[in-house]
């Protein structure tokens, strides 16, 4: 059977999980379905659809807090907070372009379950850092909650952290509470032109080590930059400054002074800056509609200063293009097609430089045999399995989405 159970409320979710437990079934937990092509494709007996659990249940701008049912479209939340000059400061990326789906289709629950973030990660953190509380149903068919609706809370274990980035394998969230923050009044971007990858890492480290409060630091190599900034013909190292206008002007000046010795400079005004960082966030040069649309894409997290070296280690062995975000700490790599999607090369380079790699785009047949997430071993793998079992002993919820059995 391959049923799709459409829950109307938390009670339905509980009932569905209890039924699956009794029948020995495994369920795919689906919000609005925008991320189904991510992760390890496992065999599920049916889908638990949470898209009808929709709607903002509390929004108090002065308290910086918003609660919503898990299936609420992210877009709805973003436009609501935008109307009060606020935002989700972790700048969640939209996988739509990369995976060939429609843009802006995700839910808030999915955003948190995958622990999304964007270029502002270096300053404001990821979804996990803004996740205050949730209610959900465990794989034991029990409704439970964790956290609260206040920013400062150390009562009990911080299960929000564990659930953020668990890819729906621990609990089916039914309602979530997040922190919202004021949106910056304006922004500008400083561009350092023509840097080689290694020199760009050095420049970005200098910018991040300044008091300029840079909120985005990315390096677009020469083959990429023209596709992201119209009119550019050289590599572009881009640094974003956000805030109130007098502050932005002041810091742009200070940052330009600091970057002068690194290369020729240019400036992007607010409008061009906003468009650029959206493209960096969503990795649009690697979009499925683009020239490398069918090629595998990896997302690699490493120490920022290691970015260029790690990419070079990959490029030595396989045809690849890169975009560096997070001052070099996040590498998006698109590789020439290979049977293992380049896994051996990527893992070896990551092993050498530190960090971890996730296979974001590849045909399901490849993701079924190539580990999507960095494999765990020994005591760590055993702990992960015990944590999974503590929430979901029979593997009802998304089992196998991360690793076999998890």
């Amino acid at each position: 059977m391959n049923d799709k159970l459409k829950a109307r409320d938390a009670g339905d979710v509980e009932e569905a999980v209890r039924w699956a437990l009794a029948e020995g079934k495994a369920l795919e937990v689906v919000g609005r379905g925008s991320k189904r092509a991510l992760g390890r494709p496992a065999q599920w007996d049916g889908a638990l659809d949470l898209s009808a659990l929709s709607g903002v249940t509390l929004y108090e701008p002065e308290e910086l807090v918003l609660s919503a049912r898990a299936g609420t479209p992210l877009r709805e939340i973003e436009s609501l907070v935008d109307s009060r000059n606020q935002e989700l400061a972790f700048e969640p990326m939209d996988h739509g372009p990369l995976l060939g789906g429609l843009p802006a289709r995700g839910s808030i629950g999915g955003t948190l379950a995958v622990n999304l973030s964007g270029p502002r990660r270096i300053k404001a953190g990821a979804a996990r850092d803004h996740f205050l509380g949730f209610a959900g149903v465990s794989g034991r068919g029990e409704r439970f909650k964790s956290g609260g609706r206040v920013v400062k809370n150390v009562t009990g274990y911080d299960l929000c952290k564990l659930v953020a980035g668990s890819w729906g394998t621990l609990a089916a969230m039914t309602e979530v509470t997040i922190k919202v923050l004021p949106r910056a009044e304006t922004e500008m971007t400083l561009v350092v032109l023509g840097l080689a990858d290694r020199a760009a890492m050095t420049a970005m480290a200098a910018a991040m080590g300044s008091a300029c409060d840079v909120s985005g630091a990315a390096h677009l190599p020469a083959r990429i930059a023209p596709r992201m900034v119209p009119g550019l013909a050289r590599a572009a190292t881009v640094l974003r400054i956000e805030g109130v206008e007098p502050s932005v002007i002041h810091r742009m000046r200070a940052l330009a002074e600091l970057m002068r010795t690194h290369g020729e400079l240019a400036t992007l005004d607010r409008e061009r800056s906003v468009a650029l960082w959206r493209a960096v966030r969503d990795v649009t040069p690697f979009a499925q509609q683009g020239p490398a649309g069918t090629y595998p894409v990896w997302r690699i997290s490493t120490a920022p200063t290691q970015g260029a070296e790690l990419a070079a280690a990959i490029a030595q062995r396989i045809d690849a293009e890169f975009i560096y975000d997070w001052a070099g700490g996040l590498i998006w790599a698109v590789l020439a097609p290979a049977e293992d999607a380049g896994e051996a090369v990527v893992r070896a380079a990551t092993e050498r430089c530190g960090g971890h790699a996730t296979l974001i785009r590849a045909p399901a047949a490849i993701r079924a045999v190539v580990p999507v997430f960095t494999p765990e071993q020994g005591a760590l793998a055993a702990l992960t399995a015990r944590v999974k079992q503590s929430f979901d002993p029979q593997g009802v919820l998304n089992a196998g989405r991360m690793w076999a059995g998890v």
Binding site: D129, F144, G209, D213, Q389
Partner: protein, 496 residues
């Protein structure tokens, strides 16, 4: 008083053998077994609770920690980890049949990496020492609990410590990237590192704030930040706490996130002023300190906005610091508020609830009623930006019955915090102190799920038992599934 788990007579009977085994793991002076030398460890910052440990061990390598935990695990001996012992919730309260594992010797800063903006430190390094070590390059470590001179980074991980600047810069959990971690079975694991997103489940995220119940951290990678160019503070006085609360809401509503935003009520203002002479006005009901940091141009711009919001909220006093000395003076009173209250009362009991900020006037009013009911005074200091309230209940432990009355009053305050949509503890932790209040906030299912996670790390319940959870269940019992095959009907859900 909260009851601790019953002592294990079989373990106590083997004390000498256990001490000898620990001495074989940690040679020299690393094992303390004499009554006199163990005395300093009998309590932490929550001094109303005291208990001598069975033995104290002070390892100085990760391998020793692993060997100690492996030995305790094999022999069914309880372990209480301890940093500097500054916990205000009794998190490091020893057990009479337990090993007190002191991490003070892990006090080395291993490396500082300015290019990646991280420092790798031992858990016994004090919070302030991290900032001091990177200050020469203009960096600092953002979380700044008021005990930062003494408290350790390891303890900060255990409690997920905050501080006055966490509204803008986050708590410990938002400022750590990696750790080395020893399980009760003696396995050494690493989570995260210098990269921003860790692989797999966010174990570091759940260890942070776990109060020493999941394992022992032996090394930590923390983020360091460049110091802001400048900081200025505004002192704003109000004739009512309602006006002050409105001012806080309007500042945030205007899109301003101050580096710190603190409120004091009249008794706290008076005590602080008499103690440090910070120049606080004594004719106001509520006083706000609003600090802005960043580039000069930004701070000057925003200070002006804060001033006008204050005036619009009927502020009776509004003073902007004109020098670094004056800014520090504004803070001196607030930072000395606890000892200042200590001067006007033989004892005080510090509470730590968080509330949605809009509920402040209601909570203060109810607190005044409770104060009359229990016949005990209360002074309030408040991290106004994030709703974290620190009522200080004034009492005299030498007067029979006052401690009990004070604890009952405190429990009422915390239940009130939960009732208005807040939580039991914002930054001090549950420990033993608020353990039995957990059911006020969590259902049995909520607590069971948390304990099941504990079981995934420590199945035998040897790490810091008696803290956080009001009822200890056996893991086998918690893990049992009640599944009735074939008896659950197909759910009555729409199907497609």
């Amino acid at each position: 008083m909260v009851a601790m788990p019953e002592m294990d007579g079989a373990v106590l009977a083997r004390r000498e053998e256990i001490v000898a085994a620990l001495r074989a793991i940690v040679p020299g002076e690393g094992v303390i077994a004499s009554e006199r030398e163990m005395k300093p460890y009998e309590s932490d910052g929550l001094t109303a609770y005291r208990q001598m440990p069975m033995v104290v061990v002070l390892p100085d390598t990760t391998e020793q920690v692993a060997a100690i935990l492996r030995y305790c695990h094999r022999n069914g001996i309880r372990v209480v980890p301890r940093g500097a012992g500054t916990s205000l919730s009794g998190g490091a309260l020893p057990l009479g049949d337990g090993v007190l594992l002191g991490m003070a010797k892990f006090n080395r800063i291993h490396s500082i990496d300015f290019s990646n903006r991280v420092a790798v430190v031992g858990p016994g390094v004090t919070n302030l020492a991290v900032s001091t070590a990177v200050a020469h390059a203009g960096f600092y470590y953002a979380p700044d609990p008021s005990s930062q001179i003494a408290c350790t980074i390891g303890g900060n991980i255990a409690e997920n410590s905050g501080g006055v600047h966490c509204l803008k810069y986050g708590m410990t959990t938002n400022n750590v990237l990696g750790c080395e971690f020893v399980t009760i079975e003696g396995e050494i694991l690493r989570f995260g590192g210098k990269h921003l997103d860790a692989a797999g489940y966010d174990m570091l995220g759940v260890i942070t704030g776990s109060e020493g119940l999941l394992g022992v951290v032996t090394e930590i990678t923390v983020r360091i930040l460049k110091k802001p160019e400048t900081a200025r503070a505004v002192l704003v006085g109000f004739a009512s706490s309602e006006d002050a609360g409105e001012c806080v809401s309007r500042i945030i509503g205007a899109g301003i996130i101050p580096a710190g935003m603190e409120m004091m009520d009249k008794p706290a203002i008076r005590a602080a002023e008499e103690f440090v002479h910070a120049g606080y006005p004594l004719d106001v009901e509520a006083l706000l300190i609003v600090e802005l940091d960043g580039p000069q141009a930004e701070v000057d711009h925003l200070i002006g906005r804060v001033e006008s919001i204050g005036k619009a909220c009927r502020a009776t006093v509004c003073r902007v610091s004109s020098s670094e000395e004056e800014r520090l003076l504004f803070w001196a009173g607030r930072k000395a508020a606890f000892p200042a209250v200590g001067r006007i009362s033989p004892d005080y009991y510090c509470m730590d609830g968080t509330i949605p900020r809009a509920k402040l006037p209601l909570v203060l009013r109810r607190m005044r009623e409770l104060s009359e009911h229990y016949q005990l005074g209360v002074a309030n200091v408040f991290h106004a930006g994030d709703g974290n309230l620190h009522p200080l209940i004034l009492y005299d432990a030498n007067k029979p019955g006052e401690l009990e009355r004070c604890e009952a009053f405190g429990a009422e305050i915390l239940k009130l915090c939960v009732e208005v949509g807040g939580v039991l503890t914002g930054e001090h932790g549950v420990g033993v102190e608020k353990r039995d209040l957990m059911p006020a906030m969590f259902s049995e299912e909520d607590l069971n799920q948390q304990q099941r996670l504990k079981c995934a790390f420590d199945e035998r319940g040897l790490l810091n038992p008696g803290k956080v959870f009001p009822t200890l269940h056996r893991c086998a019992e918690l893990g049992r599934m009640h599944v009735h095959h074939g008896e659950v009907a197909f759910p009555d859900l729409p199907r497609f």
